[in-house]
Structures are given as structure tokens and as C-alpha cells.
Amino acid sequence: MPQAAEIKRRIEEAIPGAHAQVEDYTGTGDHFRARVTAPAFAGLNRIAQHRMIYEIFGAEIGGPIHALSLQTEAPEPERQQGAL
């Protein structure tokens, strides 16, 4: 059963410079909420940002990880340099 700390570690290892806060909001090890900032998100829309995270977990999403609620953004300096 995945733990919030493991999900945080995997996100931060997979996306360079990422910072993730992960919460197991049901306490049952299968519903998680993650807030992730990463320089790599700059210039990407939300769909693309979320896909980067979903791809880390592959078939685990919808499997052992029933839900992974995401909030993503680029850190402030990257946002200012981005397309917006």
C-alpha cells in the first residue's frame, strides 16, 4: 500500500527540482492529495503538468492509488518567465 511519503519521494525523484506536499486524506493509503511545484511545469498547461505526474505512477492510478488529486504550478520565477 503506497504511503504519502513514498509518493512524495517518487514525484521529487522523477521531476528535477520538484517539491511535493502529499497528504493521505482518507488515512487509508489509497486516496492522496498532492501539491507539486516544479520548474519543468513552466509554460505547460495544467493537463500537461498533471500528465507528467500521472506518468510516474502509470497503472497504479486507478489501481492501488484510487485517487491522486493534484494541484500543480511552476515556482514563481519560472512562471514570470513562462508564456503567461
Binding site: 493537463i47 498533471h50 500528465r51 492510478i61 485517487a67 491522486l68 488529486s69
Partner: protein, 135 residues
């Protein structure tokens, strides 16, 4: 997505439904009886804007979800499509509703009054059950 595989009628039906409905939500359950909190919140955002939308319940046949996710490259349900493009699931739709981006995308007023939208056509595409909804 560019190849038309006639041996996959479910995927074809999903693609046609996405093409044929300006606003379409693939969800668990129905707008009246959502079977999942994430689907319920997404329906709520659309209804708060007075946005008519087509809805497909993915629960009756597990192949609907498989084919939808393969087509959209998105693993979770619900999935909202506007004018053929994946907008996102519950998190993105909820966030876009809060920022006003959803109203902009849909071309409706954010106060819930909503401009009169032409009702989307119902697509007859078994085995999908597609319903068109007004709030």
C-alpha cells in the same frame, strides 16, 4: 488517434461522442446520481455555470473507461471535453471554475445566469449511453 480502427467500436463511439458534443463529461454515475465525489464536484461546476452538457456514465462497461483513457491519455474519471479537447478532471475543472477560466472557456457568464447555449445533439452510439443535460 489518427488511425480509424473499425475493429474497436467502443473507441469509435467514444471518439464520435467527443466530436459530436460541444461539452461532454465522462463520469461515474449520472448528473442526477453521481457515483463518485469527483464526478459530483465536476457536474456541480458545470451546473453552477448553467452549462448544458452531454454526460456518459462509464460504469456500465469497464471497456468504456479503458478505451477512453487510451484515447485521451488521461488515467482518471471524470474527464471533461470541450469542443473536442480534454479540459481535465475534477481538480482542473474545479480550479478553472474558481479562477473564472472555465466560464471563459465555455463562453458563459460567471454569475450562473449563463448565456443561452444551443443544446448539444444526442449521439446515438451504443453501447455508450449519452444524455444531454441542462442544469
Amino acid at each position: 488517434m489518427t488511425e480509424h480502427d473499425t475493429s474497436n467500436p467502443i473507441r469509435d463511439a467514444i471518439a464520435e461522442a467527443i466530436e459530436g458534443n460541444e461539452v461532454i463529461l465522462f463520469m461515474k454515475g449520472t448528473p442526477e446520481a453521481p457515483a463518485c465525489g469527483f464526478s459530483a464536484r465536476t457536474v456541480g461546476a458545470l451546473q453552477a455555470l448553467g452549462q448544458p452538457f452531454a454526460a456518459v456514465d462509464i460504469l456500465p462497461d469497464p471497456r468504456i473507461r479503458q478505451e477512453l483513457s487510451a484515447l485521451s491519455n488521461w488515467p482518471t474519471i471524470p474527464q471533461l471535453f470541450v469542443r473536442g479537447e480534454l479540459v481535465g478532471g475534477c481538480d482542473i475543472v474545479t480550479e478553472m471554475h474558481a479562477t473564472g477560466e472555465l466560464a471563459d472557456l465555455l463562453g458563459v457568464d460567471d454569475d450562473g445566469a449563463g448565456e443561452e447555449q444551443p443544446a448539444a445533439e444526442t449521439v446515438e452510439a451504443p453501447p455508450l449511453s449519452i444524455e444531454n443535460r441542462l442544469s
